[in-house]
Symmetry: C2
Subunit: 276 residues, 2 copies
Amino acid sequence: MSAPPDFDTESPSAVRAAIRSGAFRGFTNTVARGHVQGNLMIVPAEHADDFAAYCALNPQALPLLGRSEPGSPHIPGIAADLDLRTDVGGYMVFRDGELVDTPREIATVWRDDLVAFVLGCSFSFEAVLQRQGVRLRHIDEGSVSAMYVTGIETKPAGRFGGPLVVSMRALRAADAIRAITVSQRYPQFHGEPVHIGWPSLIGIDDLARSYGGHGLTELHDDELPVFWACGATAQLAARQARLPLCITHYKAHMVVTDLPIDGTAADPSFEKEKTS
Amino acid sequence: MSAPPDFDTESPSAVRAAIRSGAFRGFTNTVARGHVQGNLMIVPAEHADDFAAYCALNPQALPLLGRSEPGSPHIPGIAADLDLRTDVGGYMVFRDGELVDTPREIATVWRDDLVAFVLGCSFSFEAVLQRQGVRLRHIDEGSVSAMYVTGIETKPAGRFGGPLVVSMRALRAADAIRAITVSQRYPQFHGEPVHIGWPSLIGIDDLARSYGGHGLTELHDDELPVFWACGATAQLAARQARLPLCITHYKAHMVVTDLPIDGTAADPSFEKEKTS
């Protein structure tokens, strides 16, 4: 067993500071669970408007939480002290669509023409699901949800396009029903699932072969696979676009924001239900 | 092909009049679809409070829409001209828990000590589901949803108790997800499903053997079985209680009320979504 962390794991700013100092290197799905987390996508300014249009056309996969000014690694609207060059636990650097590096910070790669986007992530609704009594076995087992590339095509914009990526959770029936009713209240975290039950019907031939090779992929006999649209869709689109430079977060190391999750439900009846 | 009906099939009072006159003898799941339909349960007054308590303890299966005064076959709160002795398309009469008759009206059976209950029915949310684009194959095929007795026990009250009965709809994944998010807004029509996917996990060994032997029971390869709590739960409870007299509607011939479905959504965001 590792030693308990010596920072406040529920404070977004403390989590970011621990990431920045190197004190915390884990997946972010178990920390700052009361606050929104997001996918990171950084592109050159000349491609930023096309990417924004691509997000707007595919909002279930790519719900936009924030966008930086050109050259700025900050998005004050989502976290005052956030520095996107150092505050994410890992990065992937792509050049011409090829992964060239997975650094722990990107200060030396940063350029004055880069624009950063933060997109909603299912980690945010996982915290809500657990508070509502839904069992998320992948978290119980210290893992993350598995991702898959589907046969569903996104709506293209400019150079951006390609297949929808989804995240899968193995859920018992009652939990699947609850997860559907709860997640649909959070369109900014992908909303309700895109599929349940038959992976082959959305072009997934083998659950064991997840995108990136990580996450919980084995179903128990009483579990159904439930699939949500996933922000990793942006990674495939950016690679397919063969941008000269593109930087994303490293898998399961998300942007931790100061936005409280509770204030973001689309449905006013949520608060009532949550406390009942 | 049968001749088209010569009454306004969308008017609850016209449907009731057609049932009363014998002009309409069909299932009620295709008529008066903008208005709430309900299960009928008639018991002697001495058992009425116990039955009401049983409903209150099991609201997902037995959501109470209305209750008559002792001896009255009318419930003005749900339909001004309703006469429960003549306005339901068929009845089942039980004595000491045994089915003894299935008459077309119950004027001669009616007694001054009887109390009628009307309980929410999934037929009401089926109309909503279809308006939201969900395909209900059993309706397309002129059938009704199949019912099953589960291994789930209800909470008992007085002499009333027994297993939960469910209705099953065969739905493609996207429709199943939509049906879950829509139906949960209507707790008075059973709310969200109680199960999806694996019938055996709720004590249903063979989908082909439905309760009463009617309804669509065969799944296509791309369909999931989705199960909702069902008002027929009351029938089993009343039979198990071995009441000296108990009268219910005959299968798929429901009480047609004047209550508009649209005014009953629990979620204020529903109207927005419906018109988008």
